[in-house]
Amino acid sequence: MSKSKSFLIISRRPPYGSSHARDALDTALTTAVFEQPVAILFQGDGVYQLLSGQEPGGVRQKNLSATLSALPMYDIDRLYVCARAMAQRGLDQNDLVLPVEVLDDAGIAGLIRNHDVVMNF
C-alpha cells in the first residue's frame, strides 16, 4: 500500500465480558499485517487484559493474554498503559504479561496528537 498512517488503538474494556477487547486486538494485528505502524494504549479496565494468570477455559473462551503475547511477533512493540488506571487498581509492571510504558494524562494526550488514526474499543 502506497500511503502509510500511524495508528493508535485504545483498548478500554476488560477481557471476556464482551468482545471489545478481542476486537481491539484483532484490529491491531490486522493493521500491523497491513504494514502500518501500530501502538496500543490500555486504559481503564482495559489494563486487566494484561494481567497474568488468566485461565478462561471455564468460560469457554480463548486466552486473550496469550494472543496479546504475540504482539511482538507482529512487530507491535509500542504498548502503553494509563498510569491512573494502574494506580487505581493497585497494579504494577510485575503483574502484567508484557512490558509496557506507563503514561500519565499529559503523556496520553500527547500520544493521541501524535497519531493519524486513533481507534477506541
Partner: protein, 130 residues
C-alpha cells in the same frame, strides 16, 4: 473530504448505527465522499436482510441499502464478526454448511483488512461506538 465510518452497534439495541446513518447522509449532502462504511462487532446486524421492525419504526438495514444504491456506497460487514453472529452470504453459508443465508443486497462480507485500508485511504475515520 473523504470519510470512512466504523459502526459498532446493532440497529435497535443501540443508537450508534442510526447516528452513523445520519452522519453519512449529512456528509453526502455537503458533497463529501464516503470511501467505505465498515460494520464491526454487533454492527454486523445492520447487514441482515431479515430485520423486520414494525412499520412505524425505522428500518435501518433497508435505509442503508437504499443509501448505498443511491450513492454507490461500499458497505462492508466484517466477515469474522458476521459469521460468528449468523450473518452469512451465499458463499459463507456454503463454506459453513448452513441451510440459509441472510446478507442484505448492497452489503458485502470482507475482512478486517478493509477497515485498515479504509483508515489509510480516507481523510477521516469516524467511529460510532456501542
Amino acid at each position: 473530504m473523504i470519510f470512512s465510518l466504523l459502526v459498532y452497534g446493532a440497529p435497535h439495541s443501540h443508537q450508534a448505527a442510526e447516528s452513523a446513518y445520519r452522519f453519512a447522509v449529512s456528509a453526502l449532502n455537503q458533497g463529501h465522499g464516503i470511501h467505505r462504511i465498515f460494520f464491526y462487532g454487533d454492527g454486523v446486524h445492520n447487514g441482515s436482510a431479515l430485520a423486520s421492525p414494525p412499520q412505524d419504526e425505522c428500518d435501518l438495514p433497508a435505509r442503508w441499502q437504499a443509501l448505498a444504491e443511491q450513492h454507490e456506497l461500499d458497505l462492508v460487514v466484517c466477515i469474522a464478526a458476521a459469521v460468528r453472529r449468523g450473518v452469512l452470504d451465499a458463499n459463507e453459508a456454503l463454506r459453513y454448511e448452513k441451510p440459509a443465508h441472510n446478507l442484505r443486497a448492497g452489503f458485502e462480507l470482507s475482512g478486517l483488512g478493509q477497515l485498515a485500508e479504509a483508515a489509510i485511504q480516507s481523510d477521516r475515520l469516524i467511529t460510532f461506538g456501542a
